[in-house]
């Protein structure tokens, strides 16, 4: 059983999260709301989750995201940093975020 790969990443400020191929963030025009599409599931993220997911491009680090959000909302970095990491970890644990990685061809 050696070498089992846990799919769920551990989010830190150094992480560069991105949505995996099977999870898609999409604006549903008919219902006028954001949805996450995943195998056998459709989820309805709230506005905060949508804003954070849109920053997850696999290039930007969590540290940069927190800086960006703190500047945008003129909020204290420490206060929102913990919230952002907690939310990203929640999304990762549900399988909607992964770490950007080199693709094996």
């Amino acid at each position: 059983m050696a070498g089992l790969r846990n799919r769920n990443i551990s989010v830190s400020e150094a992480s560069r999260p991105i949505m995996p191929r099977h999870a898609k963030l999409k604006f549903d025009e008919v219902r006028q709301r954001w949805v996450i599409l995943a195998p056998e599931r459709v989820l309805a993220p709230d506005d905060t989750a949508v804003e954070i997911l849109q920053l997850c491009d696999g290039v930007r680090s969590v540290e940069q995201m927190i800086d960006q959000l703190a500047a945008k909302y003129s909020a204290e970095r420490g206060a929102i940093g913990a919230d952002v990491i907690a939310m990203l970890q929640d999304l990762a644990d549900k399988g909607f975020l992964t770490e950007a990685r080199e693709k094996a061809s």
């Binding site: 769920n8 099977h22 999409k26 195998p39 056998e40 989820l43 993220p45 929640d90």
Partner: protein
């Protein structure tokens, strides 16, 4: 923090049923309560002959199938009315030569696409072309964890080996993989090995689905029905694996009706959050709905829109909601929890689709079907009737005891 995600309805069973969250704000989808996901059965043709096939016993011939242009029009219409996900299924969907074109069209109109396949017709090139066309997810069915049992159940030589190969290609191409394992008396002893196989194949998800007894499976019930001991052991194995493989493999478990106490909320309720489209374009409340005689199902080839058929057709409204229910459902506190269970099963076992599903302990027939399941499992009749266009072929006598 408040919950950041709300589960807005899986395709199959759905304990939380957050559908209402998706149907707010006066959209067209709200008006019609349009499902989030639709199953497109592109063809009934299939190289496999599984005795529990979910297709109707009266299979639709290749000549009656919707054309490429008709399917594309259907996909466009589905996206416009608010469907978000399309499951390409069959028969064997890869038997359609235009599958890549249909997946590309689904991507073009913004549908999330899933391929539900036996995988035996796939090549690496074909899978690559499907991935390039935007396919989001692949589900491969397995009949066992090794070729002897698996190829016998599938009624096709070398099928298991081909599936393993295709599953590897799926992961090499970085497509997410679900392993679907249909379980019954003659392969439940392999469950632990099937779970390990899914891990070894680097699957994201495993569906452990006990056979549901309609159509072909009903014909084969005596050969498929598990024993009560098997079911109890299965539940233990699934539970243990779920804990052990957390974060590695997600496991969905479909329990068998005949040994249940409460009926399943079949399809989330008739005409409530699901429909499928048959190869010839008929819009159906579930893939087994045509087993119920006396219902007329309208086609996308009719003069009506898909949304109109969903909302207004007689077949969809017959068992919608709770108004149609007789006793004991009518006064039951669970009537909006399970919507009376499964209409197809009620029809198959009682002769009337309007009766309470006998899977429910409150059905007068519950005790009888429980005993029937036990005695059929104990009799251990094991020859299959293989699924085919000829109405089925009995397995040779010397095939099964191997």
């Amino acid at each position: 923090m408040s919950p950041t995600l709300t589960d807005a309805s899986p395709v199959a069973t759905d304990p939380s049923d957050g559908l209402a969250i998706m149907e707010q704000r006066g959209s067209r989808a709200e008006t019609y309560g349009i499902p989030l996901a639709v199953l497109a059965e592109l063809t009934h043709r299939c190289p496999l002959q599984c005795p529990y096939c979910s297709n109707p016993v009266e299979l639709e011939r290749g000549g009656s199938e919707l054309t490429t242009e008709e399917w594309k029009k259907v996909l466009t219409e589905l996206a416009e009315i608010g469907v978000l996900q399309i499951h390409f299924s069959g028969g064997e969907p890869t038997a359609r030569k235009d599958l890549v074109e249909l997946v590309q069209h689904a991507s073009d109109v913004g549908l999330y696409s899933n391929l539900i396949t036996s995988a035996v017709l796939l090549t690496r090139e074909k899978l690559k072309a499907l991935a390039d066309a935007g396919l989001c997810h692949v589900q491969i069915s397995f009949q066992g964890n090794e070729p002897v049992v698996a190829n016998r159940v599938a009624g096709l030589k070398n099928s298991h080996e081909k599936k393993i190969e295709a599953a590897r290609w799926t992961r090499e191409l970085d497509l997410p993989l679900t392993v679907n394992a249909v379980m019954h008396r003659q392969n439940l002893h392999q469950l632990s090995d099937i779970i390990q196989m899914a891990v070894d194949l680097d699957a994201d998800r495993l569906e452990v689905a006990n056979v549901q007894y309609y159509g072909w499976a009903l014909k084969n019930r005596a050969a498929l029905m598990p024993t009560l001991e098997q079911i109890e052991q299965t539940s233990r194995i699934v539970e243990e694996a779920g804990v052990r493989l957390k974060g590695i493999l997600a496991i969905d478990y479909v329990v068998p009706d005949y040994y249940a106490l409460r009926p399943k909320k079949c399809m989330g309720g008739w005409g409530r959050q699901f429909f499928n489209i048959s190869p010839s374009g008929k819009i159906l409340p579930c893939h087994a709905a045509e087993t119920i005689t006396g219902l007329e199902f309208l086609s996308v080839r009719s003069n009506h829109s898909i949304a109109w058929i969903w909302q207004n057709s007689e077949a969809f409204n017959r068992y919608r909601g709770t108004g149609w229910m007789p006793e004991p459902c009518r006064s039951c506190e669970f009537k909006e929890v399970d919507f009376g269970g499964c209409r197809c099963q009620a029809f198959a076992l009682t002769g009337d689709a309007g009766n309470t599903d006998p899977a429910c302990t409150l059905s007068p027939m519950h005790e009888q079907i429980f005993k029937m399941a036990e005695s059929e499992a104990a009799a251990d009749h094991s020859r299959f009737i293989y699924r085919n266009f000829a109405g089925g072929t009995l397995e040779p006598d010397d095939n099964d005891g191997a």
